[in-house]
Assembly symmetry: C2
Homo-oligomer: 236 residues x 2
Amino acid sequence: MTATKSRARAGGRGRPSKAKGLDLKETILDAAEGLFARHGFYGVTTRQVAAEAGVDTALIHYYFGAKRELFDAVFLRRAEILNQAREASMNAYVKANAGAMTVEGVIEAFIDPLLRISQDGGRGWKSYFVLVAQVNNTPAWGGETMTRFFDPVVHQLVETLKTVRPEAAYRDLYWCYQFLTGSMMLTLSETGRIDSLSEGECHSSDLESVRQRLFAYCAAGFEAVIAKQNKALASG
Amino acid sequence: MTATKSRARAGGRGRPSKAKGLDLKETILDAAEGLFARHGFYGVTTRQVAAEAGVDTALIHYYFGAKRELFDAVFLRRAEILNQAREASMNAYVKANAGAMTVEGVIEAFIDPLLRISQDGGRGWKSYFVLVAQVNNTPAWGGETMTRFFDPVVHQLVETLKTVRPEAAYRDLYWCYQFLTGSMMLTLSETGRIDSLSEGECHSSDLESVRQRLFAYCAAGFEAVIAKQNKALASG
DNA sequence: GCCCTTTTTCATCAGGTGATGAAAAATGAA
DNA sequence: TTCATTTTTCATCACCTGATGAAAAAGGGC
């Protein structure tokens, strides 16, 4: 009876799944992604999404159910890809540098996949990062969403860092991760604020400049905090 | 004819400004602030604000005009206070340490006022920081708003840092500022994400722990980026 | 061509939205 | 008290919101 039951499911008799419908689903997701990123969940109406995608409003509910489920579908579509890329990157780094890992190396392995995807992945990915940054700053339900999708890879980061710096306390690693993710999210969402602020010296789309600075910045931050807190602990 | 003209203005004959109305205005702003922070501009209706404030819906339009003007009023109310506190803090630091300023000292003077206000200022200020973080991540109109209100004090920060490290390029200082502000905003908005992520090791409301780490983290980041970029420049 | 299924469209609902104008109440100087 | 003025309430408008059910169209195995 509910919208959920009317959702499309493959495997009947009529049409086995050659499916123009899949293309349409993607078109809808693309439209929704761009609009949600620009205006937020409540700032977008299903009619706007339908218009942008060039489909009937009812079709959105047919494929995705409620508006919120559409949003979740948008979020989910790329989250998995992102997680796999990061996990693979970190595993590769650990494997290649087993004996000689550095804090900066681990951090680079954690962040760089996102920068690369943002550079090579086209407009869709840029919108997606804006969306994630937005969810990250949504008190009402953003935390739960972020936790559900991104906690595992964060724990992997922290554990790897712990093996590189066994003397570091988890408290410090988690605080530093929070600082790192704040910088990273703001940078990936490419708000353009740095462009006007720096009066042309910097461009938010210039991810190569980011790469040359962000890893070193965060790594030095981690090292400084670890050193300072351990020193305080020793003398306290 | 428009709502703007019906706005309250003091100085007529009837009531000179002893004004219960001013209290009501503040009540409305408080209610709006909390709701906007939690759910965003589009996630809140004027009726919700009115209900939360315990006033008639029409009263909101009477005092503030359109919904967006109400939002601007919320944003503006504390922005000025914030700017003055930061400017005063930085001026005081420069004056007190004229000959021996450090990067970390300048950064502390820039960030610490916000931490103190958040700790001492009550629930209203906490909501406000969430609001600012949200605006900071709103592509459509957030950048313009942030620029209008907060650019001056940022330039003051950058210029001060430039006097401490004259060899640093503005490019690097602006990039590092972006990293810093990302960390700072995420931390000030106290999303609670670090609480669940760290499984109880850290608490987002524990700003004393932030103080012990964030300044050192950012300062080390700045120093590392400056050193690295200058080294690259020299050898390139 | 038939027939069952999936996909797409159309018309519409119940409720909520921001906003306004007019009336009522409150206020305080004269 | 009078009365111009401000503040508050009330009723309402025109429009938009998410969502749904029924009908129409499209597909493809047989």
